[in-house]
């Protein structure tokens, strides 16, 4: 059943040398060499090369990125320093100005207070003077009246006013002391 085509199987001897079979064998090896070269080694090596290239690219771009990041870091550090500096300046400036302003305000207030006090003093003094004059006049009037009553005759007001005034002045001086 199995040997449909060959009624009697023809076999080579165990060792039989044939020229053409060797040539075919050599050609087979050469053909396989070409097959492997073209269909296995070439594509795989191309892929490996592409991968190497890609890794190189990645490395170089990583290098660039690292350099850039470092530059950015330095730049930002410098910026931060400057910002801190200026913040300090702003704060100290503001403090200084605030102090100045405060002093100014206090000074103004003091001046105003002084002015107000002076005016009040003046007013008080004036009022007092006025009151004193009034009292003085009243006293001298009363004195003249009393004296008239005592003396019984009319005293010439003009004659004695000078004397009474000096008397009141003395009184004032004593009371002040």
């Amino acid at each position: 059943m199995t040997h449909l085509l060959f009624a009697e199987g023809n076999f080579l001897e165990v060792i039989s040398v044939n020229f053409w079979q060797m040539i075919i064998s050599i050609l087979n090896l050469v053909i396989l060499y070409l097959i492997l070269k073209k269909f296995l080694f070439k594509p795989v090596k191309r892929t490996l090369e592409a991968r190497r290239q890609q890794v190189d690219d990645l490395y170089s771009s990583a290098e660039t990125a690292k350099t850039e990041a470092e530059a950015a870091r330095v730049e930002y550090a410098a910026k931060l320093d400057r910002a801190e500096e200026s913040a300090r300046e702003i704060v100290s400036d503001a403090t200084r100005r605030a102090n100045e302003r405060a002093e100014e305000i206090v000074g103004e207030a003091k001046t105003e207070a002084d002015r107000l006090r002076r005016r009040a003093d003046e007013e008080i003094a004036q009022e007092r003077k006025k009151a004193l004059n009034e009292v003085k006049n009243e006293i001298s009037d009363i004195s003249v009246e009393i004296a008239e009553k005592v003396v019984g005759r009319e005293i010439r007001e003009e004659d004695h006013r000078e004397m009474i005034d000096s008397f009141i002045r003395d009184l004032e001086d004593e009371s002040r002391v």
């Binding site: 060792i15 079979q21 269909f39 080694f41």
Partner: protein, 309 residues
């Protein structure tokens, strides 16, 4: 925020690998896989239909399918006749298998590919290149495919016997052809140093030894061929003998069993598989390795000393 503005590195990574595997790639991969298996299946069918059942213990060479006769009557018979045998057919099947195997492995390679096929393809290429450069040194960049061809053709030819096919490597003509090719390459590299020094090489260390030097020159390919051929063929012979012995033993021990049970060669189960692992798998691969190794050694010895760059 990073999503909307990919950096350069992210773009590179994306280009090559985030593209999905195309339908074409997938289709071709399957096609190569099927085409890769076809020669093996075809070989088994051929074997099934064309090989007559053997009677008794016969140790023969390859089966002759048909004989081509060159139309030159005055040529001597060995040159005029070209018997097409199992060796030639099976070698062609191995070639076809390896062709589609390569296409299968390298279909849709990617820079960042991690598929098993790609890993295997890169493994083969890198191992063979490392093997060649460690044995021969630098400067033989065209050799890895050749060494790989020897390794694969030899190993897969021997491994055909695992499928029950005739291993082309157990035909002296096949291995002899390779050895002759290697011999020519050795001579080519020796001639590179100049014809004078090639001839002078035979007269060393003393001119009296010249005949022996010539003899040893020609014994190189012969020993290579016979070593390989003998190992594979003897494996086949031993397997045949063991099979026959086990069949006889089975008949002797279990022959009394009624009906077809008595005809089953029970002892053929198990032991031949172990033998096959040694003779087909181990010995076949080992001989392929030895043949490739010797090729590289002889050629690198033959090559003139490289000018130190």
């Amino acid at each position: 925020m990073r999503k909307t503005e990919p950096t350069k590195t992210e773009t590179i990574a994306r280009d090559a690998d985030e593209a999905p595997i195309s339908r074409r790639d997938r289709f071709l991969t399957r096609l190569w896989f099927v085409l890769m298996l076809l020669p093996l299946v075809g070989g088994m069918l051929l074997n099934l239909f064309l090989t007559p059942p053997s009677e008794g213990i016969t140790v023969t060479g390859a089966q002759i399918y048909f004989t081509l006769r060159l139309p030159f009557e005055n040529l001597p018979a060995p040159i005029r006749d070209l018997p097409i045998t199992e060796s030639q057919v099976n070698s062609a099947l191995v070639l076809l298998f390896l062709l589609f195997f390569c296409l299968f492995l390298t279909q849709g390679l990617r820079t960042r590919g991690k598929s098993a096929r790609q890993v295997l393809a890169e493994f083969i290429v890198e191992k063979v290149e490392g093997f060649v450069s460690s044995t021969m040194g630098d400067g033989y960049s065209s050799f890895p495919p050749f060494v790989c061809a020897i390794l694969m053709l030899s190993a897969f030819s021997s491994l055909l016997s695992l499928l029950g096919l005739y291993a082309p490597t157990s035909d002296i003509n096949v291995v002899g052809g390779w050895a002759i090719l290697v011999f020519f390459m050795i001579t080519h590299y020796k001639l590179k140093a100049g014809f004078g020094s090639y001839v002078k090489g035979f007269l060393e260390p003393i001119p009296v030894l010249a005949p022996f030097n010539v003899l040893s020159e020609f014994s190189t390919p012969i020993s290579m061929a016979f070593r390989h051929y003998g190992n594979v063929m003897s494996g086949g012979v031993i397997a045949t003998l063991v099979y026959a012995a086990l069949a006889a033993l089975s008949t002797a021990v279990f022959g009394w069993l009624p009906g077809f049970l008595g005809d089953i060669p029970f002892f053929q189960i198990g032991l031949p598989a172990v033998l096959s692992i040694y003779f087909d798998l181990f010995s076949g691969c080992l001989q392929a390795f030895i043949f490739a190794m010797l090729t590289m050694l002889y050629i690198s010895l033959a090559a003139p000393e490289k000018e130190s760059a």
